[in-house]
Symmetry: C2
Subunit: 448 residues, 2 copies
């Protein structure tokens, strides 16, 4: 996997404090998309590297973007044998080789970070390669959404189900009511034509399920990415609610579709979430081999109709498409996850798991709630943890530099600055919490 | 890899305290030989399991003994592709799967242990699978004998060179002098015939090097395995010294050969150490793929003629025999090793590295000398650490049970007994050290 050199030279000139300044290396671990996406999306390194004179390195995940083995993507995904090299263990072994190469040149402590799947890779990298990365920031990383570790199946849609009424009660009820209405129309003669017309689908609908799956994904996606500057969930619900005065339930939901996919489209592709993009194709294989997340919907996800995760059906599907059955216990066997609090407390250090509480994947990411002196901590606030990130990154890097202080020459004054900043941020958050508590008490007293 | 069921039933009936007693599971990790060898050789589990009501599990290393993949050994070693699955990472992944299976049935903490290569696997297993094994005893495990971590090349033969004079000065000098004499005779017309006759070689010697390599291996092996009840180094030197009064230098060395390989053999096989045994064949591949230990001899190993480790030649050899070049940096990339003290202190716990100081591999196994409250400790005494093992195992298990005490019901009284034992042993060893120090001081004073 080539070390991405695209952003490095400029970063190097602007920030890098040099090998002797104990400036850290921030290593962004690529995930299930081309690295180019991350340059645009991930603000963290560009925002925070200057505080630490840090060198920022982006490493791409094999099989995504420019990092294609076997000569071509077609060759690399040809059969089970070549696809067998496309897995998370091999990907983090790549990171190990690349980062050792970087460390040899710029001898400095490495801190890995990533989001979502990349966040899992960051945590796992610190666990498997503690001799290479001295800390990890695992952002929105559902490391517990495997096997039977946590609240099974429902976690993801359970939080989506909570996010919607928290944004708008009427929006939530409209969506919740819509499924039966779709079923009702779809079952009538000519019903699918009506639905196809009303939702301006690019091809004629084959079933009500086709439409419903599209709408479910739209809801889930808006909840998952409901962060600034776009706040898609807020936008979606505003559109649905606003349409309520002038149209029926289909018109309302369709107004949501328009808000999500653009108002002036000639038609809307109900296959949008399953288009054959690099991400969908690559992740499709990963999910069907080792990354088996049993995401389903039972009663707890009551905003949606039930659709329980069914391992038997999933296995049949994977065998059909990829020629192999998925390995539902592999991730917990290789990376752990059961009793994770005990394991991490007695073994490991410097891993931060951060989540926004409204992120549906946070149901698989609440690793440890309290701040542990030595191990892991997780701050979770309402939205995606942007401000939180800042605090935690500073905390992590401060910890790391402190840890290294007997072997490195000096802790740079920058890290003391970071410590001050952390303290003031904690103070700020503590104040916020206290005032929140007081408000709640007042409410209670008034209620009585 | 099948879980060995051969010894399990009897162990189960005799010792096992049951899942509710928090009795540990001792998992013996197989190494580069059939597991049957270990049943006979490794006294530890049978000796110590009763103290803890421990369940003892033996797990065989893939490609050795009965654990042959692909149907047959021939098929499994056919080419680079099938051989590619024969590596340490895959072997410890097997252990992970087997031990999770065992833990599911007998929910108890697992402690892994092993010796030599098996010791490295035990340490690496704890590092890579802390969620499965809560502690590891890595006995005589040269985890630092890779890449350029420690004293390169010479470590092994440097200790052999120290072991011999510590056993017998005259024996040491005889062997040290013998190499030139062999060279001298071998270079003369008919010299190889003389050597073949005097050493009763099974086939006619092709070179002096052939004989010397055999004798070097004999010396190294006797130093490496110089523990009770056989003490081969002591026996070898006694034979060499005793023969001194009645024969020349060849006769003396040959007396050593007889003592090592049996006095009444009709002939001696100079290929003995390279016979195509399962161990030699399997380990040969492992060494030529990932387990590249740069063992050589330069000036520090002055009991022997120089034979520096030459990576270029080694690479040529491996390409010729196995079709692939070795990966000399892979072990340190995957398992670490550089700055190991820092890494282990900041990350990891409950790993014991134990060595006898006279074990030639201890040159790659001195991980941490001092007793660390939380991490790792290494006691190293003169002989193979038999008594030491006892102490350390008790210490390890006590630590582990103590660690678990907030999650398990109770620490059994057995472990308190163990703690007492540890204390008394420490007291004993401390006393020994103190008296040793005093003796040395006295010596110094007399010298002055």
């Amino acid at each position: 996997m080539p070390l991405s050199s695209r952003n490095m030279p400029s970063t190097l000139n602007t920030y890098w404090g040099g090998a002797n300044s104990s400036s850290p290396i921030f290593a962004h671990l690529g995930a299930e998309s081309p690295l180019d996406h991350d340059f645009l999306r991930v603000g963290f390194p560009v925002d925070h590297a200057p505080f630490f004179n840090a060198l920022v390195v982006y490493v791409e995940h094999r099989h995504y973007g420019e990092s294609v083995p076997f000569g071509s993507m077609e060759e690399a995904l040809k059969n089970e044998t070549t696809r067998g090299f496309f897995n998370s263990a091999q990907a983090i072994a790549d990171y190990a080789e690349v980062l050792l190469y970087v460390k040899e040149r710029f001898s400095s402590p490495v801190i890995v970070y990533g989001g979502s799947y990349g966040g899992m890779l960051a945590a796992w990298f610190r666990l498997k390669y503690p001799h290479i990365a001295i800390g990890a920031l695992a952002s929105s990383a559902p490391v517990l959404y495997f096997d039977n570790i946590t609240r099974p199946q429902d976690g993801y849609y359970w939080i989506v189900t909570k996010d919607f009424p928290a944004t708008s009660g009427s929006c939530y009820r409209t969506i919740k009511d819509s499924w039966d209405v779709v079923d009702n129309i779809a079952s009538q003669p000519g019903g699918l034509s009506i639905l196809s017309q009303r939702f301006k689908t690019c091809s004629h609908l084959n079933s009500g399920v086709e439409l419903k799956n599209f709408l479910v994904s739209m809801c889930a996606s808006s909840a998952q990415y409901n962060h600034p500057p776009d706040y898609p969930l807020t936008v979606l619900c505003e559109a649905i609610d606003r349409a309520g005065s002038r149209t029926d339930i289909f018109g309302q939901i369709f107004a949501g579709v328009e808000s999500a996919f653009g108002k002036n489209s000639s038609c809307y592709d109900v296959n949008y979430f399953h288009r054959p993009t690099e991400t969908n194709e690559g992740w499709g294989w990963q999910v069907c081999s080792e990354m088996v997340m049993p995401i389903g919907r039972t009663v707890e996800a009551h905003m949606f109709q039930p659709a329980p995760f069914n391992l038997t059906e999933f296995t049949q599907y994977c065998k059909l498409v990829y020629g192999v059955p998925p390995r539902p216990h592999w991730i917990t066997t290789y990376y752990g996850g059961h009793d994770i609090k005990l394991t991490l407390q007695k073994f490991a250090s410097n891993i931060i798991f951060s989540n926004g509480r409204k992120d549906p994947y946070s149901s698989g990411g609440y690793v440890i709630y309290t701040i542990k002196e030595i191990i892991v901590f997780c701050l979770s606030f309402e939205v995606m943890p942007i401000l939180d990130h800042l605090v935690m990154v500073f905390w992590l890097i401060y910890r790391v530099l402190e840890d290294l202080s007997d072997s490195l020459l000096a802790i740079s004054t920058r890290s003391w600055f970071a410590l001050d900043l952390i303290n003031s941020f904690f103070f700020f958050f503590e104040n916020q919490r206290e005032s929140q508590k007081e408000k709640e008490k007042e409410k209670e007293m008034r209620g009585n």
